[in-house]
Amino acid sequence: MNAILVAVIGMFVFFMGYKYYSKFVAERIYRLDPDYQTPAHRYKDGVDFVPTNKWVLWGHHFTSVAGAAPIVGPAIAVYWGWLPAFLWVVLGTVFAAGVHDFGALVLSVRNKGQSVGTLANKIIGQRAKILFLFIILILVLMVNAVFAWVISNLFITFPSAVLSVFIQIPLALWIGHLVYKKRGGMLLPSLFALAAMYVSAIVASKVPALQIDLPRYFGGEENIVAFGLNGVAFSFFVWIVILMVYVYIASTLPVWKLLQPRDYINSHQLIVGLAILYLGLFFSNPSISAPATNASPDVPWFPLLFITIACGAISGFHGLVASGTSSKQLNKETDARFVGYLGAVGEGLLALAAIIAVVTFFSDEASFLGAYSSFGAAGEGGLGYFVQGAGQLATGIFIPADIATTIVAIIVVSFAATTLDTSVRLMRYIISELGQEYKIKPLTKMHVATSIAVVSSAALVLLPEGPQGFGSGGYVLWPLFGTSNQLLAGITLLLITLWLKRQGRNYLITLIPMIFLMFMTVWAMIQQVFFQWSGLGEGHEMNLLLFLLGSIILAFALWILLEAIAGLRRKGTEDN
């Protein structure tokens, strides 16, 4: 099947979703009012509340939500064939992510620009706020573990990318200094930084001496280095330690020093990445070598597909961005459709490109099935195949495959690193907040909270062992990450639903995606917790860590469902 056709069909559905479905939702359900005074005008303070042009706000919203997650999920999920992943990304974006992001924005705008956490307290009650805090805590813990694993994995697979990623750090510090202390512009220095990174990438992909290849230094798989770990596993251990030290420092620095300038450079990289993928696709015109559906998977697609792809189909994290910053800057309420819905579509486009890069990479169906031989193999290798697939697409626009592969690896690592930074910082804030809530004073201290965040994340990524031994276990956390992200989306959808119900409007458009998500989450967790991780199912060993994490997530999902039932019933009687 021709890949361009698939991309065009996906884009067409996105377009129709935006043009008709979002219009219907905006006019009939959310009932946007162009004359409504948005928080940006009502509480205008020039800092947080600023009326902003819708294009600027959309761009900012999109660059804040797009990251490595909509790439990793689809790269794993194509294991079940390209069609299920494609359908879930396209339909999920149109019917779930779109109304979720858009709804979170509208809900916040109609409630003084407050964030989802505060709104949970207001709409459902104190219990919901605590539930919300714990869901975020588990989500950021998963993000830390998963993204630390993603980065280490890419560093080991693509050693030519390491140098440029590390060059980015001093460059970002320099830009931060320039902008904050000297009040300079950001555009030129950041373009210079980007150029410096890519030049070093080109040089490193041609000069092996500049490739920081830890497994080679440690003597590869045959050599036992220390603690009974071979060269590859030990490299993984070293990268995790380096990353954790780095995030400790990065997340305790003021944001303008490192995080924000890096974000700025990464926004250029997002454009570069999308351009490589889509231009490469249209110029090289590849055909899909992967099968439409995998005839004999070792793990069934239902319901795991829906938690393997979270970002790209629906992601609770978007609700945090929409209600945290974007809602305070919306100029007119009617702009919410453009910013919220189209932001979700942007993420969907990234996920669509990720699917296409992987499924066009292999020369034929047999080699695809050889690489994606099991769900475990998909988890370990998926991201690597995406990077190589994107490199292959780039040859369509005359970029040599080895250079393009290095650049795409850098892009994915940069996204993952920024996510990791932000997420460790967020975890630190949550731990402090819990410390305040429960009057545990040491937890409110920055270094105590950061240490807890970093050590627990490192433990989580190092503990589970995959089939290839130490260091390959991170992928088993991926579905758990997807699930916790879905839980967050579930609670946001619940809030929007209750709000719509109180307004006496049709709330099915958010209730149905919410029930769908919670159903998939509960089903998947029951399957995994009781039949795989408990050790009760045939051929499965007990995995205490995953069993515990899975049980917690399952309990949270059931909790949300109970809150939903209680909320809907309670309001039902009040409204009558």
Partner: protein, 83 residues
């Protein structure tokens, strides 16, 4: 839209997040400056109050935002024409 306009829009998009953060940091510095400026009225001795007095008329509007940000609905200073 010309190339220049496009570049301007692009820069504005990327700048959006940083703008807020930088303004917040600057505002924190300003707040400290305000505290110093009005320290005499709050009972803290200020050796340069004679000079800062001259700044008051220019600061009135900002003063209102400041005391609201500091969690005081009404002006904390008596004998000072604010809300």
């Amino acid at each position: 839209m010309g190339f220049k306009d496009f570049l301007k829009l692009y820069d504005e998009i990327l700048r959006q997040g940083h703008r807020t953060e930088i303004l917040r940091e600057l505002r924190d510095e300003d707040d400290l400056f305000f505290l110093l400026l009005y320290s005499e009225m709050l009972g803290l001795p200020n050796p340069v109050s004679f000079y800062t007095l001259e700044l008051y008329p220019y600061m009135l509007e900002k003063f209102h935002d400041w005391h609201k940000r500091m969690g005081m609905e009404k002006s904390p200073l008596s004998g000072f024409r604010c809300c």
